[in-house]
Subunit: 321 residues, 2 copies
């Protein structure tokens, strides 16, 4: 949610001149996306977003993200469309960073989604999964089972500063997940970061999905678990099963979950809650001096984990089978 | 340059429904303005900026700023136009803060202005001064001569931490300015913060002026001194007299400076350099924990002050009389 990189005027004009999108009329840094710098770019040809990829995005992954957005959009999932420059390239360089211009999507992210938003999100997520089925590239999920122990190693010495007993809770959780994590569920492209900031609505209709910079190849139902965590808890920590039921029903209107996925739902929710707890914990303990972004509370996900540990089956998430 | 206040969806929709500007299509926090929170608001009726006034703007001053923008725009100075709600009010409340919707201006702020930009800026500044002549409201400048000693009092104990000898340099400067500050120069509405961020260009033409939240009633030539400081020094600290000459010529194409103003130019430059040095120094020494904005370097203005101390007359700024 910050502008990390300033762009000099001459550089901007030279960069935009490489595209067939007219002349620059307006250029404003926007508070969108946590990892990258985003500018709203208005030209005589229309509205765009110019993204500068900051260091947390690996340059070698960019072709995966860019081609995925093109692939999904071609199959009816509204997401930013990379604009190709006059040489046919979707990725350029600006201010010393990889950069892309993408189409501007209308709509706003809903900070407090209701059940109808959750239903629409479930449907959109399933469409995204279906549209990604024939995407030919693969990118392993660096933030799944094998990625969690290194995150914990980076944080465990100071975890109890954040909450007493946190280190031992995480140790137990990691052991449980290592022993019980499913090894065969339907796989495909997942968004892997579909928080409310990354979904635009007009009214109660999804108008677009953004920020594909965690997208990877993993269990489809893991994506749903991420969304249950991100969308269905109230700010007081309680789980809103009406929203969860709406989300799962929305999903199943487009793609019916297999029995193995239904059975795995509670553990996938535990894993995804731990994933966000750990990355937030590492960020929390390593806020750089002069940081432009306030770190998010890792304990929010510690509390969500508590809920999932007590869940016996997918019925606790509102699924009736 | 930050979003200080988040707006809940329901509050946003309710607020916008009070205006005749259609339905919300997009709403994004933008990195524009240092003091307030600004959102880019796109509706079925067009593009707008929604501003939430944060605590550094005094609520009782808002009618001055809002009416000034209307007054100037009616006289051909392109600046954001406050949109009145269905009840005819230009100021409302949103998320617990005073708030206004203003029209969106095309153009971009030029980070490294050239002489032509400086010339265009000078002309625009003079037009602004002329257009403000019959503005009926007054607002004293809290950051002129009488406002500097309290700022220094808040910073002097720790000023030498920032640069050895700074406290004594400021003390001498304050004494000099108190003894020599002019007491009768042409007065009127001044912008008082016309840094490059606050002026939009399309090509080399000024397309608009924004951020009137320091505007006040003071010496017109003091505004010019602020602009000389903000636009005519290079990043290595050197003074670019070509840019200054272009700015002053541009100004005089619209409004000729009186002899008393020409004579006062060096001291007005000293005063305005000290003003920005002091406010930056106070901010520098009081960065709150978790600040979203990096403080600006006060020593940049200490160095500029050194240049102005050595200036003998307006000729040092490129004026030929």
């Amino acid at each position: 949610m910050a502008v990390y990189t300033e762009v000099a005027d001459e550089e901007l004009f030279a960069f935009v001149a490489g595209y067939d999108i007219g002349d620059v009329l307006s250029f404003k840094g926007i508070a969108e996306g946590v990892e990258n710098t985003n500018y709203f770019l208005h030209t005589t040809a229309g509205n765009y977003i110019l993204t500068l990829y900051e260091k947390r995005v690996h340059e070698e992954d960019l072709p995966f993200f860019v081609r995925l957005m093109e692939h999904l959009a071609a199959r009816g999932v509204t997401c930013p469309q990379p604009v190709r420059d006059r040489a046919g390239e979707a990725l350029g360089r600006l201010a010393g960073r990889p950069a892309a211009i993408v189409t501007f999507l209308e709509g706003l992210s809903i900070r407090r989604p209701g059940p109808r938003h959750c239903g629409a999100l479930g449907e959109t997520l399933a469409r995204l999964h279906e549209a990604g089925r024939d995407f030919p590239m693969r990118r392993p999920n660096a933030l799944s089972l094998a990625g969690w122990p290194p995150l914990f190693a980076a944080a465990k010495a100071r975890a109890d500063e954040v909450s007493p007993g946190l280190a031992s809770r995480v140790r137990d959780e990691l052991a449980f997940l290592a022993a019980h994590w499913p090894d065969a569920l339907p796989e495909g492209v997942i968004h892997a970061d579909l928080f409310t900031d990354n979904v635009f609505f007009i009214g109660e209709t999804v108008s677009g999905v953004i920020d594909f910079y965690f997208a990877c190849t993993d269990f489809l139902a893991y994506d749903l678990a991420i969304c249950l965590n991100a969308w269905c808890f109230e700010s007081d920590g309680s789980f809103n099963v009406t929203k969860a039921r709406a989300m799962l029903s929305g999903y199943e209107r487009v793609r019916r979950l297999e029995d193995v996925e239904v059975a795995a739902l509670p553990i996938l929710c535990r894993g995804s809650a731990l994933r966000f707890m750990l990355t937030r914990l590492v960020d929390w303990l390593n806020v750089p001096h002069g940081a432009l972004v306030r770190p998010k509370d890792p304990l929010e996900y510690d509390r969500k984990l508590g809920f999932h540990r007590r869940a016996a089956s997918a019925r606790d998430y509102g699924l009736s089978r």
